[in-house]
Symmetry: C2
Subunit: 369 residues, 2 copies
C-alpha cells in the first residue's frame, strides 16, 4: 500500500479555515516532543499563556488553549458557565450562533434566541429591548460570523451588559488574530477561538479566556461540570500555579505550533497584522467588483478575513469551486445553511492575507467565470 | 523576546507517554495543511479509518480518531453510551479506572465501582459475582492500567459479558499498538485509545471504535448527547458516507501524524511490533533486577509497555527523575495516587521500545543509584 501522505499537494487555503500555515509553524510542529510535565515544556505553556493574554488584551489568569478544535472551545465555555435551567440568551445571525444555541440547550440551559437575518449584524437596540424584558445569566454572541462574513457589534453589546450580573460570552474563532479583540476593555467574561483561522496554525487547539467574574461563577457551581475533559477548574491546575497537576496529556506538538503562530503575530505587531487584513480585504473586494461580483454583506459590517460573495446568476457554484481546487490549487468555501448555493466564502486569514494570494485568486476567478 | 522553541532539546521519553516519535511522523506532522473537506484529505481520513480497523481487528464502521487527547476518547464513549440514571459498573485498579468512574458519575450514571488493589489485576470471579447480583447497562475496564503497569483480563471479562445485554467498554489507551487488541473477537462494544502511547504519535488524538450494538444504543437514546462536540452521530456524518457533512474542523496535521504512525506499525507488522515490546520488556526487567530493583506487578500480569519499579529504600525518587532528565535527557514517570513515592513508571511504548533506549536507561540508572 502506498503512503497517501506522499500525494499531498500544497493548496492555497482561501476558504473559511484552515488558513495557510507558514514554514515557521510547520517547523514548530515537528520539533522534538517533550513530556507534558517537563519543566521546559511548562515554560512554553507559560509563554503561550502570556502571548494569548497580550493578543487578547486581557489580564485574565485563566487564559489557555483547550485541547480540541474551536468547537471544543465553544463546548468548554458553555459547559463550565451554564447549569441546568440557567437562562441564556443567544444572539444569532448565522451557523455559529445556531451552534451555540444547540450546545447550550443540550446542557439543559433555558435558551432564548434573538434572531437576525443572515448577512446582517446583531442589532443593539433589539438586544437592549430583550434585556429590559428578561434577566439572563449569560448572553452569547459571535464576533465574526464565519458563515456570513458579518462583524457583530461586540463592544456595543459589552457596553449594554456592563453593570448587569449577566455574563458576556463571545465567539472569537474567526476574529482573533485578524482584527482587534480587546477582552477586558469590551468587558467580555468568556471567549474562545480556534488555531486554524487568523492565527494560521493547523486546526486542533482552541484558545479560551475567562474573566475573574466567570471564574467565580465556575468555582461556585451547584453541580460539578458534567464534562470531565473540559472542566476548567481541573485544567487550571495544570496550566496555573507552582505544582502542575496532571489532568490530561497536553497536545505538545500542536502547542509548539500555536506558540510559533502567536510569536509571528507579535513579532509583526498586532496592529500591522490587522492593517494587513484590512488592506487585503480592500484589494479583494475591489478585484471582485471589477469582475462584476457583488458582496453579500453591507460595507459597514463586513469582516476583513471572511468575504461572502454572491454567486452570479446561472453559475454552477460547486463546479467553480471544484475547478479552482483541481486546476488552480485554490480552496474557497461554500455557503452554509440558508446561504448554501447563494454565496462563496473567501477567506483572508492570517498567513493567507497576502497580495500574491489575492491576485492568484482574482486571476483564477477571471479565467473561470 | 527569544523564541522558546529554539531551546527544545531532544529527550528520550521513557515515561507513561508521550513516547518517542519517529522522524517519519515528525515529517508527516509538517506536511502541507489541506482543507478538512478537501477530497484528498477525505481519502486520508478513510485511510486512517481502515488502518485503525486493521490494527483493532474490527469491522466496526464507527471507527475513527476523536479530535482530542485520550481523555477526550474516554469522555466520548461514556457521553454517547450513558444516559441519566443508567447502571454502570466500573472495574477499578488504578487512576484510569477511577477517572472512568468520575466521568460516568458526572454524566449522571448510577455508578458502581468494583475495587481491586492497585498493582493487581481485576479478578474475573469477583466480576462474575457482581454480575449475578445486578444488571448493568455498561461494564467498563482499563486494558493496560498506565498508573500501575497491570494488564487486566480483557478477553475473559468479554467472555463473561457475552450473551448479556450489557455493553462492554474498554480503555485501550496504553495497550493499543503495543500488544494485541482484538475488538471483535473479545466482544468489546466501545473502545478508546490515545495517539501518544504505543502509536508513537504526539498527543492530541483519541482513536475510538463502537460496535453495531453500541451504535444502536446511541441511535436509540432517549435524550440528545449532552456534548455537541463529542456527539458520535454528528461526527459519524463527517467520517462516514458519501457526502461528508461538516461538523467541526478536523485537526488536519495531527491526523497526518496518526496516519503515518499507523502506517509504520502496519509496515513493520503488528505481530513484530508486539514481539518487540515483549522483548524490550524482558531486557529491561532483567537489567533492573541486575541493579537490584524489584517490579511492583507480578510477572503473570505485567504489561510490556509500562513497567512499574519499586523505589529502593532511602532513595529520593524525585531527585533521581530530575537527574535523569537534566543529566541524561531521559524522562521517566512518577507514581500516581497511592503509588506516588512508591514506584517509577518506565515506558517502553512504540518507537521508544528499542534496545539502545533500554541500555541507555539502564546505564543511567546504574550510574545514579
Amino acid at each position: 500500500m502506498g503512503n497517501l501522505l506522499d500525494g499531498i499537494e500544497e493548496v492555497l487555503l482561501m476558504g473559511p479555515g484552515p488558513s495557510c500555515v507558514s514554514e515557521e509553524v510547520y517547523k514548530a510542529l515537528s520539533r522534538k516532543t517533550l513530556g507534558h510535565l517537563d519543566p521546559y515544556f511548562i515554560k512554553i505553556m507559560d509563554g503561550i499563556k502570556a502571548q494569548l493574554q497580550t493578543l487578547l488584551q486581557t489580564e485574565n489568569s485563566l487564559t489557555m488553549p483547550i485541547s480540541g478544535t474551536g468547537s471544543a472551545g465553544m463546548e468548554s465555555v458553555f459547559v463550565n458557565l451554564v447549569e441546568l435551567g440557567d437562562a441564556v440568551l443567544i444572539l444569532k445571525n448565522g451557523v455559529f450562533g445556531l451552534r451555540m444555541a444547540e450546545v447550550a440547550t443540550r446542557l439543559g440551559a433555558a435558551v432564548d434566541v434573538l434572531e437576525f437575518a443572515w448577512g446582517t449584524p446583531v442589532l443593539v437596540e433589539s438586544v437592549k429591548k430583550q434585556l429590559a424584558v428578561k434577566e439572563y445569566k449569560l448572553v452569547a454572541m459571535v464576533h465574526a460570523e464565519t458563515s456570513t462574513g458579518v462583524c457583530n457589534p461586540v463592544q456595543e453589546i459589552g457596553a449594554l451588559l456592563s453593570g448587569l450580573d449577566t455574563l458576556y460570552l463571545v465567539d472569537a474563532v474567526t476574529s482573533f488574530g485578524g482584527m482587534e479583540v480587546a477582552m477586558d476593555k469590551w468587558v467580555i467574561d468568556a471567549l474562545y477561538s480556534g488555531s486554524q483561522k487568523c492565527l494560521s496554525c493547523p486546526p486542533g487547539l482552541a484558545p479560551v479566556s475567562f474573566s475573574l467574574r466567570a471564574v467565580n461563577v465556575i468555582m461556585n457551581r451547584k453541580s460539578k461540570v458534567p464534562n470531565w475533559y473540559l472542566d476548567m477548574s481541573l485544567i487550571a491546575s495544570y496550566w496555573e500555579g507552582k505544582s502542575r497537576a496532571y489532568h490530561h496529556t497536553a497536545p505538545v506538538n500542536m502547542l509548539y505550533g500555536l506558540y510559533q503562530a502567536l510569536y509571528l503575530i507579535l513579532q509583526e505587531g498586532p496592529e500591522a497584522v490587522y492593517h494587513r487584513h484590512r488592506e487585503m480585504h480592500k484589494m479583494l473586494v475591489t478585484g471582485l467588483e471589477t469582475l462584476g461580483l457583488e458582496m453579500l454583506v453591507d460595507e459597514s459590517c463586513r469582516l476583513p478575513m471572511l468575504n461572502a460573495v454572491k454567486i452570479p446568476e446561472g453559475v454552477d457554484e460547486a463546479a467553480v469551486r471544484r475547478r479552482l481546487l483541481a486546476d488552480y490549487k485554490i480552496e474557497i468555501g461554500a455557503g452554509l445553511g440558508p446561504l448554501a448555493g447563494q454565496i462563496w466564502r473567501l477567506g483572508l486569514m492570517g498567513h493567507t492575507a497576502r497580495p500574491e494570494n489575492v491576485e492568484r485568486l482574482l486571476n483564477a476567478l477571471r479565467e473561470i467565470l
